[in-house]
Structures are given as C-alpha cells and as structure tokens.
C-alpha cells in the first residue's frame, strides 16, 4: 500500500497540453476517482502514474519516492485496462501467471498466487480457458486477477467497467468495492460516469481540459460544486444555472435573471455581504439543484411564476421544466404530482442550497 502524490504534473503531446499543472494527493488505501468528460486528461494522468507515458514537467511520488524516471514494473502499480488487454493466445492461468513468470518466481509460489487470486475473484473453473471463451465480466475479473497477483501498492483502473452492460456494470462495481475493502490497496479509478464516481469514490477529482476543478468527497462535489462545470457535470438532470446580475436592494442584495428576481440571504447561503458586493452588477449565475426548487400550482405562494414546458416522468421522480421568460428551471417532484403542460406555477428556491457562481464561473462560497 502506498500514498501517491502528484505535484504540478504537466503532459504535452507536441503543442497540445493535455494535463495542466495538476497537483493531487491520494492517501494510503484511499479509493480516488478521476472524473471528467472524454479528452479531459484523466486517462493520461493514470498512464503517467503507471509510467506508460513520460512526464513533461512536475513530479510523481509513490510512497515518498519520485518515480518520474522509474520503469513501470518498479513502480509496483497494477493497471487495469478498459479493454482488459488480456493476452489472447494464453489461457487464464497463463495470463495471471505472466507477471510472476516475468519476475522469475519459483513455480510453486506462482501456482499458490494464482490459486489465491482465482479464489478471490472466483475464477477457479475458468483457469484453463482462453480469453475468447469468456464473457466480458469474466475477462474483467481475469484482468483484475492479473493485477492483484503481483501484490501491487497501487491499483490504476482505466474505465474498467465501460465495456460491460448496465446490469453487469452494477454487479462488477460492487465486486470492485468489495475487493478494495478486502485488499485495502490505494486505488485510482478513471471514469466518465458520475454515478460510478459517486458510488465508488471516497473522494472524486474532477477534471476539465487537463485542469483539476475540484477534489472532494462525492457529497461535497454534489452539494457544493466548485464551479459551474462541476455543477453541471455532477447530477442528472444537472444543476439549474440561471444567468443574471447581482443588484443592491433596500436591505439585501437581489439576483435579477431576466424575470427571475431572488432576494439573496447571504447568511443562509453561507456567504457574506462583502463577497456579494464584490460581484455587484457583474454577470453571475445562480445555481440550484432540481430537488431544491419548490413548485406550487397555488399562485398566491411567494415565489417566481412561470409556465410548465415539459414533463419527464422517470418512475421514481417527475422532472418538471418551468419556463420563466427566456430561462428554464428544472424541478424535481414526487412521481404522481398533478402537473399539466402550459399551466402556470410558482417556484421558489431553497436558499440554503442555492449557489452564486461569480463572473469567472467559480462558486462564491469558495472565496468566502
């Protein structure tokens, strides 16, 4: 087991910089998820830690030792590939034995290690099969067996579930978490699936265009997104972001977003008036998740009135899109809520869960 630290890590391919000065500390035994859209540099960071790519600048430390120029095998990190990368001409047993044979371990030791890995991942019956004779889930388990058999100090997993169907993905997700609990090995897991990240990660590091946006626990990234990107990326449907300006009211600041007028109670929002005053008349965004918007057909209720534009029943919830001027606000309601497209409703925001994102897109709570 090991602690992994990356300091100001940068990777360029020619003129294209894909990882931009990323710094991150992964605690010993932690399960950290690198999350972001395609092309954000998350897989590249993983490959840099593994030693499959050369670092352009910055440092990678595993257990306190700088490993920038250490060969992949000496880093003692196991890598689980998206497409499993099993050797197609070797049986499961040979695949799992390959790293141990390469290390020239004695035969009985190799057999013992294979048996143990096979037992943990329930591969005993499949040891003499070729990868082509296995299902996707079984192949993934073989790839994991090949990874754990070396007793690595770090697991690096590059979207290992993306080739599995939805049901198998959920099952394998649980198996992976059980494996992590059992072995306690530091794991860095790359995915673009926010559900995977939320359910698996002890912490999530969110990336965009090679830059780190936020590193936090799943609930913090969801409840207190660092910026508009994280706010939109985490959660389905994403957070409502309403464009507008902060104006000075009689006693309090107000948010004016093309017909949506909201009084900003700074203390409720975890902000101070000083912070809000700095954004006076600047173009900002008000962010609120669909579950933190109250909706009512009673027009006498205090709030902003608008028209129901869409209804999206998902079974567990009903998502109502309310149009107010040029802005749309999605509201989460209980599934059987009586709503009709075109009807007028009133919405109100739960201010304790409402965020203001400054002109630079960053959450004002962070600068508080």
């Amino acid at each position: 087991m090991a602690e992994v630290i990356i300091r100001k890590l940068t990777k360029s391919f020619g003129d294209n910089t894909v990882v931009k000065s990323v710094s991150l500390k992964v605690e010993d035994g932690e399960f950290l998820v690198l999350l972001g859209p395609s092309g954000c540099g998350k897989s590249t960071i993983l490959r840099l830690i593994a030693g499959l790519e050369d670092v352009t600048s910055g440092e990678i430390l595993i257990n306190g030792e700088i490993v920038n120029f250490v060969s992949p095998v000496k880093r003692n990190a196991a890598f689980v590939f998206q497409n499993y990368a099993l050797y197609p001409h070797m049986t499961v047993r040979k695949n799992v034995a390959f790293p141990l044979e390469t290390a020239r371990l004695p035969k009985d030791e190799i057999n013992k290690a294979i048996d143990e890995a096979a037992r943990i991942l329930e591969l005993q019956q499949l040891l003499d099969r070729l990868p082509s004779q296995l299902s996707g889930g079984q192949r993934q388990r073989v790839a994991l067996a090949r990874a754990i058999v070396r007793k690595p100090v770090v697991f690096l997993m590059d979207e290992p579930l993306s080739n599995l169907d939805a049901q198998l993905r959920q099952q394998t997700r649980i198996e992976l978490m059980e494996l992590h609990q059992r072995l306690g090995v530091t794991t860095i897991y790359v995915t673009h699936d926010q559900i995977e990240a939320m359910t698996m990660g002890k912490r999530i590091a969110i990336l965009k265009d090679g830059e780190l946006q936020q590193v936090d626990t799943p609930s913090e990234t969801y409840d207190k997104p660092a910026n508009t990107f994280v706010a939109r990326f985490m959660g389905a449907p994403p957070m409502n972001l309403i464009q507008g300006r902060i104006e000075a009211g009689v006693r309090q600041f107000t948010f004016n977003g093309d017909g949506i007028l909201v009084t900003l109670n700074s203390s409720q929002m975890g902000l101070t008036d000083e912070v809000l005053s700095l954004q006076l008349n600047a173009a900002v965004c008000l962010g609120v998740r669909p579950e933190h918007v109250r909706i009512s057909t009673d027009l006498s209720v205090e709030g902003v009135s608008g028209k129901v534009k869409f209804l999206e029943p998902t079974g567990a919830d009903l998502f109502v899109t309310v149009s107010i001027g040029i802005q749309n606000v999605v509201v989460r309601c209980p599934p059987k809520t009586p709503m009709q497209i075109g009807s007028t409703v009133t919405i109100a925001f739960d201010m304790t869960h409402t965020h203001i994102f400054g002109a630079d897109g960053w959450n004002l709570r962070r600068s508080n």
């Binding site: 095998v73 990368a85 050797y87 390959f98």
Partner: protein, 299 residues
C-alpha cells in the same frame, strides 16, 4: 383473364428474364476466369506430357497433349547424367537459409518500427521503403561487386560460389519488414502496455506476446520468401559459376545446348522442381486465409 393472373404472368416473365441475365453474366464470368486458369495452369500441364516422352517424339504433328507412353528415361538421365541432386540440395539450402534469416530480420525490424521509439525512426523507415523503388536489375552489379570483395574480409564465407554469397544478399527484403510492421501495428496497443506493466522486457514481449500472435503472418511471409527464392534465377546465375554451387533454376538453364536441346529432360527437370514447392503451398494454404483475415477481426 383476371387482372390478378395477368399480374402473376408479368412477374413470372420478369423472373425468367432476370434468371437469363444472371445465367449470361455467370457464363461470361466463368469464361474470363477460365482464360486466366488456362494462362496460369496451361504451361504447367503442357510440360507434363514431354517429361514422359522421348525427345524424338516431341515434335510430332499433331501435337500430343497427353503422353501415349510412360517413358521415365528423361528422369533417369537427369538423375544420373546431370548434377540435378546437387542443384536440388543447393536450392533447398539457399531457399531455407534466406527464409530463416529474412524472417528473423523482418520480424525484429517490423517490431522495432511498429512499437519502439528511437531517433530517426521515420526517416529510417522511409529509407527502407524507398529501397522498394529500386529495380532488382540496378542492384545486381553493385551487389555482385560487394559480394566478390567480401570474400577476403569474411574468410571465404561470403563470396562468389559460396552459400554465404548466395544467401546473405537475398535476406534483405523491405517488403517483408513493411508487412511485419503493418501486422504488428494491428495488434492492440494495450497488450504491449500490459506486458510492460507486468515487467516484460522488449525481448520477452517480442517472443512471448508478439511472435505467437503473428504466427499466421510469419508463416505466410516464410512461404512467400521460400517460393520466391526457390524460383530465383537472376542472382544465383550471377553469383555462381561452378556446377557444385548452382541451384535448380540455373542448372536447368544449363541443360539447354547451343545446337541441340533435350526438351524432354528439361520438362522432367522443371516438373521435379515444381513438385516440392507445390506441396509446400498446398500444405500451408490455410495459413494464407488466416493471415488475410487477421487484420479484419477485432480482438
């Protein structure tokens, strides 16, 4: 007649017309294919007949396609009066030697060009490919001089009338390097990376991962090279002067006299030369299909 039955008749006529067009098309296709088969197989069949006949009956009129006797004198003459067996052994050593060495060079070079990073890789590969553009005839004289001068330097291992002189210049084949590189490039990159993470050296990756996976391509290249060298005429003609070092193609050519040529013996020699290579091809035929399919299938 009802409208329905009229419509049925129309459909029937249309189907008949379509089947006639299809038949005509297939007749044309078979005729063209037949022509190609005749052009390629015809000469081989043509030599069977004179090989089993006496020379004096070869020029009878009308020409005899099928032998009316089973005369084995030509073969007997070939084996007893000429150096045919020696030429055969030489050809086998020559073709096998070139094949083995060429395969080693081509697979190693192909691996390096496909998966290793080194300075000047693109330029060197470009140069390798550029040599494909140079006609063999243009290289003949310089290669001959090189081999002749190497005699002293290599203590007679590579020189005129030596196996080294015959084999070594033919082992360099840019096409083989190109083929092997292309094949290795089709192998998933993840396999190489997984092996590197597993601690395998480049040599271990090459021998344990790459070679077993490219077996069909190696076999096909091997057969190609072997067949090409078995039938190679020009280089052995240039580099060998003695009967002891001649190969079959050159040996058969020497059977043609200035004034008299025993065509029956030449036909018998040609037939015997063709036989082993045909067997090799038939035996390894299935590999050709596998190799051609290899790139098409995803892992």
């Amino acid at each position: 007649m009802s409208l329905k039955s009229e419509h049925t008749k129309e459909l029937h006529d249309l189907a008949l017309q379509n089947s006639r067009i299809r038949r005509t098309k297939s007749v044309i296709a078979y005729a063209v294919l037949g022509l190609f088969v005749f052009a390629s197989v015809g000469p081989i069949i043509y030599i069977i007949s004179p090989a089993f006949r006496e020379s004096k009956s070869l020029f009878s009129y009308p020409p005899q396609w099928l032998p009316n006797s089973f005369y084995l004198g030509n073969f007997k003459f070939l084996l007893s009066e000429t150096n045919y067996i020696r030429w055969g052994i030489n050809t086998f050593i020559f073709a096998t030697g070139v094949t083995v060495i060429a395969l080693i060079i081509d697979t190693l070079a192909g691996y390096a060009f496909a998966r290793m990073e080194f300075p000047g890789k693109k330029i060197i590969f470009g140069l390798v490919l550029a040599t494909l553009m140079v006609p063999t005839a243009a290289l003949l004289a310089p290669t001959y001089l090189l081999v002749r001068n190497l005699d002293d330097w290599t203590f007679g291992l590579i020189g005129l009338d030596t196996y080294g002189g015959l084999i070594i210049p033919m082992t360099v084949s840019p096409l083989g390097v190109f083929m092997m590189r292309q094949f290795i490039e089709t192998l998933p990159k993840g396999l190489f990376e997984a092996a590197r993470i597993d601690g395998a050296s480049e040599w271990r990756i090459f021998t344990r991962i790459v070679l077993p996976l490219m077996k069909p391509a190696v076999v096909v290249l091997g057969i190609f090279v072997f067949m090409m060298q078995w039938a190679n005429f020009l280089w052995p003609l240039v580099i060998t002067t003695k009967d002891e070092t001649r190969v079959l193609t050159v040996g058969i050519a020497t059977l043609q006299g200035q004034f008299v040529t025993n065509w029956g013996v030449i036909a018998a020699a040609t037939l015997m030369t063709l036989a082993p290579i045909t067997l090799v091809f038939l035996f390894f035929q299935r590999w050709f299909v596998q190799a051609s399919m290899a790139g098409a299938l995803k892992q």
